[in-house]
C-alpha cells in the first residue's frame, strides 16, 4: 500500500467502546466528522457495564449507559463489535488497524479509548483473594449489588461484619503501581453506605491510609457515611486475612491513630483493587503495538498540557479517557470533549497544508 492510495483523512477510528470511546465518538460526530468505533467485546459500555450505581449521587449505571448507547445509535456511528485492535500501521498520513494478520480498517486519525484494567487482587497474597470465598473486590461487590453474584455470607446474617481495604494494588511499589487510583476511596464510601442500607445492623469498617475525596461532594459523602451510616474509618493498612471462626475471616491491622494493633472477625472483606494499565503501547517509527502490560509499564504517555490527548511520538494518534490514567466518568466526559477539539485542530491543519 503506498501513500497515494491512502484517502480517508477525515475518518476517525476509535479503539474501545467504553464511556471514553462513546463520548469521543459523539463529540466528533457532532462536529461533522465521520467516526467509527472498534470494540473488542460484543457490547458497548466498558467497565460501566459492570457497575450498579455511581458516586456521588447514586445514579443507576444502567441509566447512564442506556443514554450513551442511545445517542451513539441516534448518530448512527458505525460499530465494529468483537474486533480487538492490536497493531496500528502508519500509511501515508493515516493508519491501518490490524487484528493479528487481519486488516480491520483505515483512518486518518486513531483515538485510543481502550481504558484500564483492574489490578489482579490475587497478587496481594496476604489478603487471600481467590482463596477465601468471602474476600471480594470492589468490582465483585458491584456484581453482588447487580444480583449477578450471591452475598458471600448466609442470609441468616442480619448483622454482618464487613471490612473495606483501600489502596489494594495502588500506591504499592512492590506491585509496580506507584500511583493512586483516586476513585477507590469514594467507591469504598459509596459501597460501605450501600451495605449499611441493605443491612442496617451491619458493622462496616474502612481501612485507609488517607482518604482522597478529591471530587465535588465526595467529602460530604464521607461525612455522611460517618454520621448517618455509622461507618467506621480506621487508619491503617490491613496486614493479613486468615480463616477465622466458622466461615469468618480473621484480619489484622495496626490502628495507626492509636498506635495499637487490632484484630477483627469479618463476614466479608472487600478489596479496593486499583486501576492499572490495560495494555502496553510499544511505539515504533511507523507502527504502534498494543501489547500485554508488564510490571510497572504505566499508562499511555501523552504530551503537552496536563489534559492533552495526543500520544507522544505519534502524529495523528490520540488517547482519550482512562487509558491515560485513573479517571472518573465526569472527567472522562470532559476529556472526550477536549480530545475531540484537538483532533479537529489536527484534521484542520492537514487540510490547510493540502490547500496551500
Amino acid at each position: 500500500m503506498n501513500a497515494s492510495e491512502y484517502l480517508p483523512k477525515d475518518e476517525v477510528a476509535i479503539i474501545g467502546g467504553g464511556p471514553a470511546g462513546m463520548q469521543t465518538a459523539l463529540a466528533l460526530s457532532e462536529r461533522g466528522f465521520s467516526v467509527r468505533i472498534y470494540e473488542q467485546k460484543e457490547q458497548l459500555g466498558g467497565h460501566l457495564k459492570g457497575w450498579h450505581h455511581l458516586f456521588p449521587h447514586g445514579v443507576a449505571a444502567s441509566d447512564l449507559l442506556g443514554q450513551l448507547k442511545e445517542q451513539v445509535l441516534a448518530r448512527a456511528v458505525p460499530l465494529h463489535l468483537g474486533q480487538s485492535v492490536d497493531r496500528l500501521q502508519k500509511v501515508g498520513a493515516g493508519w491501518v488497524l490490524w487484528q493479528g494478520e487481519r486488516p480491520l480498517g483505515r483512518a486518518g486519525v486513531v483515538v485510543l479509548a481502550n481504558g484500564f484494567a483492574l489490578f489482579d487482587a490475587r497478587r496481594k497474597e496476604e489478603y487471600g483473594y481467590g482463596l477465601y470465598p468471602s474476600v471480594l473486590t470492589a468490582a465483585d461487590l458491584e456484581a453482588v449489588f447487580r444480583k449477578e453474584q450471591p452475598w458471600p455470607f448466609g442470609s441468616d446474617r442480619m448483622a454482618p461484619q464487613v471490612g473495606f481495604v483501600h489502596c489494594v494494588g495502588s500506591r504499592d511499589l512492590k506491585c509496580g503501581s506507584p500511583h493512586c487510583s483516586k476513585l477507590c476511596c469514594v467507591t469504598a464510601v459509596k459501597q460501605a453506605m450501600a451495605v449499611k442500607s441493605l443491612f442496617p445492623e451491619a458493622q462496616v469498617y474502612c481501612f485507609y491510609m488517607d482518604l482522597r475525596m478529591h471530587g465535588l461532594e465526595y467529602e460530604e459523602l464521607y461525612r455522611k457515611a460517618q454520621v448517618d451510616y455509622g461507618v467506621r474509618f480506621i487508619r491503617g493498612r490491613l496486614s493479613e486475612a486468615a480463616p477465622g471462626q466458622g466461615k469468618r475471616l480473621h484480619v489484622k491491622a495496626e490502628d495507626t491513630l492509636q498506635g495499637r494493633p487490632l484484630h477483627l472477625q469479618l463476614d466479608m472483606l472487600v478489596l479496593m483493587s486499583g486501576m492499572v494499565p490495560a495494555f502496553l503501547l510499544e511505539q515504533q517509527e511507523r507502527a504502534v503495538f498494543l501489547k500485554e502490560p508488564v510490571f510497572g509499564s504505566g499508562f499511555v504517555p501523552v504530551q503537552g498540557l496536563l489534559a492533552a490527548g495526543s500520544v507522544v511520538q505519534q502524529e495523528g494518534l490520540f488517547a482519550s479517557g482512562a487509558c491515560k490514567g485513573p479517571a472518573t466518568l465526569p472527567e472522562v466526559f470532559a476529556d472526550a470533549a477536549a480530545v475531540a477539539r484537538e483532533v479537529e485542530q489536527y484534521l484542520k491543519s492537514l487540510k490547510a497544508v493540502a490547500h496551500a
Binding site: 460517618q226 454520621v227 474509618f233 487508619r235 490502628d255 492509636q258 495499637r260 487490632l262
Partner: protein, 112 residues
Amino acid sequence: MPKPDFGFAFAPNRALDLSAPLLPEVQVVLETEPSIRACMACGQCAAVCTAGAFTPLAFYRLVLQLRGGDVAAVGERARHCMLCGKCQMTCPRGVNIRNAVLLMAALAPPKP
C-alpha cells in the same frame, strides 16, 4: 531457686478487638451526641487545647479510645477539660465537643 530473668515481663495484650460490640455506655454517648461520629481525627482540637498542654487531654484521642471501650481512661481524661470551648470553635467538622466532653467525663466513677 530464683526464676530466670530474661529482661522482659508479660504485659496484657494491647491488641484492640473490633469484633467486640460497642459497650452500651459508649453507644449512649454516641447516640446522645451524634456529631462525635463526624470527627476525622485531624487533631486541631488537641492543638488548641489549653488543658492539653499540661494534662493527657486530647479530645480526638478520647473519641478513638471511647470506641475502643476504654471508658475509665476516657472519663478520667475528660475531667481535665476546663470547658473553655476553643476546640469547639476550631473544629472543622462542627463536633459539639463541649457536650461530648461532659458526657465522657460522666463515664468515670464519681470522685470519693
